[in-house]
């Protein structure tokens, strides 16, 4: 009796004040700095500019008409191709690598895992620039090749689609390794043994048991790689040299040198739509949103 009385006493107090105090700041932030800005980008994509490149609130669909120009279409295609190839390479390298370090019996396992994260502690721009130094005409690779008399003059490795993809893989590979490491480590060894006991070959066990259980890691890793690839303009700037622009480069140009914000806003809407489609696809395949955060 005593307990119910006390219990009803504090559930009697209003919950409104604590709820507002706790979720208020977060709600305000998400509305003012996420929802409203994105809606405003949507509005701006239908705005015009005057001769001084100021945004004027005058309805037009001109910006969207410009999106379907052939030059832009080529870059969307190229951007999607770069993102796709990057994702596939990250799966092909990341899967066996995560498998090996997640299942090693080495006492250095924890260190091996930490070594994947260490590169993140150096600024990503300067690391990408490090690749440029390495691959450049006076770079380490060319110097080594000429020293070994494998080539006569410097070779041009830089400034093509391949080097942009290399930079993307470099920056994003850990996003494939980390979720895969988690899902492979959780894998129950006895399931693999059971499958082998029941006569399944190694390949069959992999396809029927291992792959379905680790698919979640592949899917979330792919989302966390594919989408940023479309926007990472600085990688194609530094390593692609203007020959392998992604959608992010188009947006960046309109907001900086090009100074046509409404057109940039319309281009951003393209990126938002692609993101929404991919996330829906990811959910349809059974991916959980919670796996994307960490």
């Amino acid at each position: 009796m005593e307990k119910t009385r006390k219990h009803s006493r504090h559930s009697f107090r209003s919950n409104t004040l604590p709820a507002v105090v706790m979720t208020g700041p977060m709600t305000l932030l998400l509305i003012l700095l996420v929802a409203v800005p994105l809606i405003y980008v949507g509005v701006m994509s239908f705005c015009s500019i005057d001769q001084y490149y100021n945004v004027v609130f005058q309805f037009t669909t001109k910006n969207y008409a410009r999106l379907v120009s052939l030059d832009y279409m080529k870059i969307y295609g190229q951007s999607l191709l770069i993102a796709f190839v990057t994702t596939v390479i990250c799966i092909l390298i990341g899967y066996p690598f995560s498998w090996l370090i997640a299942r090693t019996k080495s006492k250095y396992k924890k260190i091996l895992y930490m070594l994947v994260i260490v590169p993140f502690w150096t600024n990503s721009l300067i690391r990408v620039y490090g690749w440029r130094t390495f691959l450049g005409t006076n770079g380490w690779l060319n110097t080594a090749l000429q020293f070994l008399h494998l080539t006569d003059g410097p070779l041009n490795f830089l400034y093509n689609r391949g080097t942009t993809i290399l930079g993307m893989v470099y920056c994003l590979l850990p996003f494939m390794i980390l979720p895969l490491y988690t899902s492979i480590e959780k894998l129950d060894q006895s399931l693999l043994e059971a499958s082998a006991d029941l006569g399944a070959k190694k390949a069959a066990t992999f396809v029927e048991v291992v792959l379905p259980l680790t698919a979640g890691g592949i899917f979330s890793g792919s989302i966390m790689i594919f989408i940023p690839c479309l926007g990472y303009f600085f990688i194609s700037d530094i390593l692609g040299g203007g020959n392998s622009d992604v959608i992010g480069n188009l947006i960046e140009r309109q907001f900086q040198s090009g100074n046509n914000w409404p057109l940039g806003a319309a281009l951003s809407i393209v990126l938002i739509v692609i993101t929404l489609i991919l996330v829906k696809l990811y959910q349809r395949m059974g991916g959980s949103m919670e796996n994307l955060g960490v």
């Binding site: 706790m22 700041p25 980008v41 502690w121 600024n123 690391r127 947006i251 938002i272 993101t275 955060g293």
Partner: protein
């Protein structure tokens, strides 16, 4: 015998593969470290002119570089603190109370995580321009808090999933008020999640390039200083500072990690 040999070859191949992946991950970092000790003084600082440690001294004379690093640290500390407070309160509030629009709020949380950073960057730029907030420290902090809060919330939420709220009821039953219960019961239980979230927020903030690039105005952060210097070639003092930052982080992590190992050993005994 044959099987044993095959097994050994397979192991060697696996080790080689892993070594190649690590080589790939660390190659550009070794370029940075080596170039920080290059005696060259002419742009673009690529040709090797001999070994020197001068840049590690000279970098302390480069006031604009130090200024940018200072800005990065101030922004990272302030936005981590704000994001941690807002995120922790928000995660507990969302967990505890039902209210209208909660599902919508939950959906909004995922936007900064999945959307390409450039879209978040330009959307913040347009809104700051619309309400005419001068671009600088304030807008940088606001932007960093925005993309850090969801990560704090996800980390705290993961901790809340295994949380037994009856201990809070017990605290209230024993006469503690809500605020005392929050500080003495709820917070200690959530501490690991909060710490994880704060660490992630800090890491994201110091490394951010894209979002800062759009909202910075005249204020330079360290990554933006790097971006600026890329056009003319990254100077060895920038490489030296990067090397120092990397070393500092490694020391910090080794210290905290070995601490963890010690605790584990004690428990075992």
């Amino acid at each position: 015998m044959k099987r044993k040999k095959r097994e050994r070859n397979r192991k060697r191949l696996s080790a080689l593969f892993c070594a190649l992946v690590y080589l790939f991950l660390f190659l550009p970092i070794s370029v940075i470290v080596v170039n920080s000790m290059n005696a060259t003084t002419s742009k673009p600082y690529l040709s090797w002119k001999g070994f020197t440690l001068d840049w590690y001294v000279k970098l302390f004379d480069n006031s604009s570089l130090l200024q940018s690093f200072g800005n990065t640290m101030v922004i990272a500390i302030v936005s981590t603190l704000l994001a941690t407070v807002i995120g922790t309160l928000g995660a507990v509030g969302m967990y505890r109370y039902k209210f209208k629009g909660k599902a919508l709020l939950d959906g909004l949380l995922y936007i900064p995580v999945v959307i390409p950073e450039i879209v978040l960057g330009i959307s913040l730029l347009t809104i700051f321009a619309l309400v005419d907030i001068p671009r600088g420290m304030l807008t940088l902090i606001l932007a960093h808090v925005t993309f850090c809060v969801p990560y704090v919330i996800f980390n705290v939420r993961a901790r809340l999933a295994g949380y037994d709220s009856s201990i809070e009821e017990a605290s209230l039953d024993l006469g503690a008020n809500r605020i005392r219960t929050f500080f003495e019961i709820t917070l200690p239980v959530l501490a690991p999640g909060i710490a994880g979230g704060a660490l992630l927020a800090f890491t994201l903030s110091i490394d951010d390039v894209i979002i800062s690039y759009f909202v910075n105005g005249q204020t330079k952060t360290f990554p933006l200083k790097v971006m600026e210097s890329i056009k003319s070639g990254v100077a060895p003092d920038v490489n030296a500072l990067s090397t120092l930052i990397l070393l500092g982080t490694i020391v910090l992590v080794v210290l905290t990690q070995s601490d963890l190992l010690k605790i584990k050993k004690k428990v075992k005994r």
